[in-house]
Amino acid sequence: MSTLRLPLLAALVLSGCRPASMAAAHHGERLFHDARLSSSSFNSYSCDTCHTTSPEPEAGRLPVGGTLHGVAFRDGFFGGAETDLLEAVNVCFTRFMRSPDPLSRDGVQSRALYEYLVRLSPSREPAPARPFTVVRQVADMPRGDRARGEEVWRATCQVCHGDAQTGQGRIGEDAVVVSETVQTYPTTFPGVAPALVVVEKVRHGRFFGIGGTMPPYSREALSDEDLGALLTFLGL
C-alpha cells in the first residue's frame, strides 16, 4: 500500500462517514441550526434565527419567537392559537422558512427535530402556552431612548436585517436594508407617518395581508416601550 492510500483509508475508517450510531436529538439539534431544513432555495432562516433554547433570557438577545425551552410539553403555542406542536412548527416552516411542504409526523428529519425539542424540555411537565398577544390595531407610541433602541435592534432585528443603515451582515437579500426602505414610505404611504408603517410591519410581520417572511412581534416579544426606543434609533 502506498503512503498515500493508507492515511486516507484510516481517516475514513476512524472518523467515519457512518458513525456507529447517533442520538436522534443530536441530529435534531443540527437541523435546528441549519437553514437547509427547508428545501426552499429562497430560505435563509433556521429555527435559531428566531428562537433561543435556554430557560433564562440570553444576554443581548430578544428573539422574536422566544425560547423553545420546555416547548415539547406546552399545552399550546402562539398564545394557544395552535394546540398541536407539529402544526405550530409548520406555521414557521411553511410561512417563514417557505418550505413548500410541511414537516410530517413520521419523517426522519422531523422526528429527529422532535427529539431535540424534547431534549430542550427536560422536566417533561405540562406547561401552559406562553402568552402571545397580537397587536391588532396599529397605533403610534411615545418615542424612547436611542441607546436602548440600538440595543433592541442588535438583540432582535439585526439577526435578519444586519446593520440598520447599510444592511451589512443581513441574513439574505430579501431582508431589506431598513433605513433605505423606510425612506420610500412617504411615496408608498402618502400622508402616513413612516413610523406607523414600521410599527405595523413589526406587529403584523407577514400577516394581515402584508406578505413576505418576517415574523410578527407579539407584545411579549417586544414591548411598546422597546419599540418606541427602536423608532428613535431608526430616526423616526
Partner: protein, 413 residues
C-alpha cells in the same frame, strides 16, 4: 513537530475526501437512535364521539366550544375544551357556521374573513370581508386540520351531502352588492357563487353562480335538491343530480331578482316529511313556505313575526312542528307547519340568551339547543331548552359571537 512533504499531502487529501464524500450534515445519518415514541404525539382529544359531541363556532375569537353531549343534560355542563380554529394563529379569520360529516368523522368550518375589529394599520383594515374566505376540514377526534380550500369572499352557510362526499358553501357577499351599486353595475354582477367541493381532496368541483348574497342552505329529504336563501327575495333551487348544477329561482314578491327587496331571505329549514321549505326573512321579518316539485311559494301560509328577526330553526323528525328562534326580543316559536301559525311562544330570558341565532333539536326530541350570540363583547351562550315544558334548563357561556351549534356522533347521520 512539523508535518511536511509526503505526510502532509495525504492528510490534506483525506480531509478533503471527508468533507466532500460524506453526506451533507443535513442528511440524517443512517443509524439514528430514536427514543421518543410516538414522535409529535397529538395531545388534543375531543370527548368520545360514541356518546355525541356538541360544538359551537365562536365567530369572533376563532375557536370552537366543545361539549360532551351527555354533559349538557347534567346539572352544570362544562365545556370540555375550547379548540382554536383557522389557518393562521395570528389573524382572526371568523369561523362562521359549520357542517358535520354524516359519519361523525370530520367537521367543516368556513372562515369568513369578516370579523369586526380584526386589525388595522397603514395597509388597511382587516376582517372587512375583502379577503377571500376559506373552509377547513377538522378531525372530529383530535381537532387537527386535515385540509382546507380557498373560497370566494364571505362564505355564508355550509352543508355536507348525505354520503359525506360533497361540501356546499354559499357566499353572503354584501360588499359585492355595495360595490356594484356604487359603480352603477347590473344585478348580474352582484351574484355570489355556490362552491361545490370534494371532501376527500378539498378541491373545488364547481363554482355555481346563484344570486346576490346567498346564505342559508338546506337539502331536500332525498338529497337531490339544494335550497338556498337569496337576499334578492328569492330561493334558489339547485339540481344536484346533474353535473352542471342547474339553478332555478323562485321569487317571493315583486322585488324578486333585484336588491330592491321587501323580505331578504336569510335562513332555511326543510321539513323531513313534506319536503316543504321554510324561509326566514330578515327585512320582512316573516317566514315563507314553499312546496317542492316544482318549488312554488304557498301564498296561503306565511308567518309574520312582528318584533324580532326569524333565524335558523328546525322541524321535528315527524314534521309536526317547526321550532324557530327569533332574535330580539329573544324567543322560540313553535309553529304548526300545516297552517304556519304560532302554537306556542317560549320566551328566552335575557340573562340566559341574548340574540338567539340558531336552534337545533337534540336526538332525544325533548330538548333543543339554542345558540345565542351575546352582545359580541362578552361571551354568548348555549341554551339547553326543555321543549316540552317550554323552559330554559341551562345556559352555558361559550365564546365571542357564537353562531352555530352542531352535533357530532359516530356513525349516525
Amino acid at each position: 513537530m512539523t508535518l511536511r512533504g509526503a505526510t502532509l499531502t495525504p492528510i490534506l487529501l483525506a480531509l478533503l475526501t471527508l468533507t466532500t464524500a460524506c453526506p451533507r450534515e443535513l442528511d440524517a445519518p443512517p443509524d439514528l437512535v430514536f427514543s421518543e415514541e410516538p414522535a409529535w404525539p397529538v395531545r388534543t382529544h375531543l370527548p368520545p364521539l360514541e356518546d355525541g359531541v356538541v360544538f359551537v363556532t365562536n365567530s369572533m375569537e376563532d375557536t370552537v366550544s366543545v361539549f360532551a353531549l351527555p354533559e349538557l343534560s347534567g346539572p352544570a355542563p362544562r365545556e370540555a375544551l375550547r379548540l382554536p380554529l383557522g389557518l393562521s394563529p395570528v389573524e382572526l379569520e371568523g369561523p362562521h357556521h359549520a357542517a358535520v360529516d354524516p359519519q361523525g368523522r370530520f367537521f367543516y368550518v368556513p372562515l369568513s374573513e369578516n370579523v369586526p375589529g380584526a386589525g388595522s394599520g397603514p395597509h388597511g383594515a382587516h376582517g372587512t370581508g375583502t379577503a377571500d374566505g376559506a373552509v377547513v376540514k377538522v378531525d372530529a377526534r383530535t381537532g387537527l386540520r386535515l385540509g382546507s380550500a380557498r373560497l370566494d369572499r364571505s362564505p355564508g352557510d355550509i352543508l355536507v351531502s348525505p354520503d359525506g362526499r360533497t361540501l356546499y358553501v354559499s357566499h353572503y357577499d354584501l360588499r359585492r352588492i355595495q360595490d356594484v351599486l356604487h359603480a352603477g353595475g347590473p344585478v348580474e354582477d352582484m351574484v355570489s357563487r355556490l362552491a361545490v367541493l370534494d371532501t376527500e381532496t378539498m378541491e373545488r368541483r364547481a363554482m355555481v353562480p346563484l344570486c346576490p348574497a346567498a346564505h342559508g342552505m338546506a337539502l331536500s329529504p332525498d338529497g337531490t335538491r339544494l335550497y338556498v336563501s337569496c337576499l334578492s327575495d328569492e330561493v334558489a333551487e339547485v339540481d344536484l343530480t346533474q353535473g352542471s348544477f342547474p339553478v332555478r329561482k323562485v321569487g317571493l314578491g315583486p322585488g324578486a331578482g333585484t336588491v330592491t327587496t321587501q323580505h331578504e331571505p336569510y335562513a332555511l329549514a326543510v321539513s323531513p316529511t313534506t319536503g316543504e321549505v321554510w324561509v326566514s326573512c330578515q327585512k320582512g321579518r316573516d317566514v315563507h313556505v314553499l312546496t317542492p316539485d316544482p318549488l312554488t311559494v304557498d301564498g296561503s301560509r306565511r308567518l309574520t313575526v312582528g318584533l324580532g328577526l326569524p333565524l335558523f330553526g328546525e322541524l321535528t323528525r315527524d314534521g309536526s312542528a317547526l321550532f324557530l328562534p327569533i332574535q330580539a326580543p329573544d324567543r322560540v316559536l313553535e309553529v304548526d307547519p300545516a297552517t304556519a301559525t304560532v302554537r306556542r311562544t317560549i320566551n328566552l330570558p335575557h340573562a340566559a340568551c341574548t340574540n338567539a341565532h340558531q336552534l337545533r333539536l337534540l336526538p332525544t326530541g325533548t330538548d333543543a339547543l339554542v345558540v345565542c350570540e351575546g352582545d359580541r363583547v362578552t361571551p354568548g351562550t348555549l341554551v339547553v331548552l326543555d321543549v316540552a315544558a317550554g323552559t330554559v334548563r341551562r345556559s352555558v357561556p361559550v365564546g365571542l359571537f357564537p353562531d352555530y351549534v352542531g352535533i357530532l356522533r359516530e356513525g349516525t347521520p
